[in-house]
């Protein structure tokens, strides 16, 4: 069993009158148990060079239904450049330059693909999948 942790830190001193300081640490475990996730695809990068067409980052058919976790980061430094993130053709959100996301993924259907759609050419997405066997 491996031990992998994800820590989120949200801070703001001036968004509201009271300072914001949220910290959460989660150990990544399998569905409904305390067993640490033991597989990962490693930290990867995908550059979508031209045409900026939609690309299937993770194929729902390739993974069993489970408590997978996904990390995504738009490495662009141009504020207007974003990746649109979709699950099974439902748009989750747009990841603008420098933004990151971390979320659970079930892969509970063959169609439950994670797809990315860059707004411009030559954009690079950094990603990592932690896999529940």
């Amino acid at each position: 069993m491996a031990t992998t942790t994800a820590q989120l830190i949200l801070t703001s001193t001036d968004l509201v009158s009271d300072s914001l300081s949220v910290s959460a640490i989660a150990t990544l475990t399998g569905a409904g148990n305390s067993t640490g996730l033991t597989l990962t695809g490693g930290l990867g990068r995908k550059k979508l060079a031209s045409g900026h067409a939609q690309y299937t980052l993770f194929d729902g058919d390739a993974y069993a239904n489970g408590a997978h976790k996904i990390y995504l980061k738009n490495t662009s430094t141009t504020a207007s450049e974003y990746f649109t993130i979709e699950i099974n053709s439902e748009q989750m959100g747009k990841l603008y330059a420098g933004d990151w996301a971390f979320f659970p993924w079930e892969a509970n259907a063959d169609t439950n693909d994670i797809k990315i759609d860059p707004s411009d050419d030559n954009m690079t997405l950094e990603y990592m999948l932690f896999i529940d066997e």
Binding site: L8, I9, T11, S12, T13, V22, T29, L43, A67
Partner: protein, 145 residues
């Protein structure tokens, strides 16, 4: 009015090479600009006991093409108790006890609300505490656009 979000992923043994990913403090900005996000629901908390979907954050169709970031955490200490998170009936994933998510949110239309369900809740499991926060911009309440 900067709000910063940082993620640190670490593991010494999930692979032969240790995992140590640190995004650094990323400032949350409005769509396509360097202007800070200036609105928030604040950190909120509900106790979930519904096995069917409940709206956690209602989509505002005017929010389409605006930036919004959503934080949700299942505060249960029971690793078997999970919260199913959906957008427009599409399951994003299940947050088991202690799990969190931080995602961008496209409010493509009013159907794109973020909903949650305590899918395996029973009267004997106890409620599932869920905390959440939304950081966003809004066309109706502009402050520094």
């Amino acid at each position: 009015m900067a709000t910063n979000a940082q993620l640190i992923l670490t593991s010494g043994d999930i692979a032969g090479d240790p995992v140590n990913v640190d995004t650094g403090q990323i400032t949350l900005t409005k769509a396509g600009t360097l202007n800070d996000l200036d609105q928030s629901t604040g950190l909120s908390r509900v106790h979930l006991r519904s096995t069917t979907n409940k709206v956690l954050l209602a989509a505002n169709a005017e929010g389409d093409n605006l930036a919004a970031k959503v934080y949700v955490i299942n505060k249960s200490t029971d690793s078997a108790l999970y919260v199913t998170v959906t957008i427009n009936a599409q399951t994003i994933g299940k947050l088991y006890g202690g799990d969190f998510m931080f995602i961008p949110w496209s409010q493509t239309d009013t159907s794109a609300s973020i909903e949650v369900a305590a899918t395996n809740w029973t009267s004997s499991t106890g409620d599932i505490p869920v905390e959440y926060a939304l950081f966003h911009e809004d066309t109706d309440f502009l402050t520094n656009a």
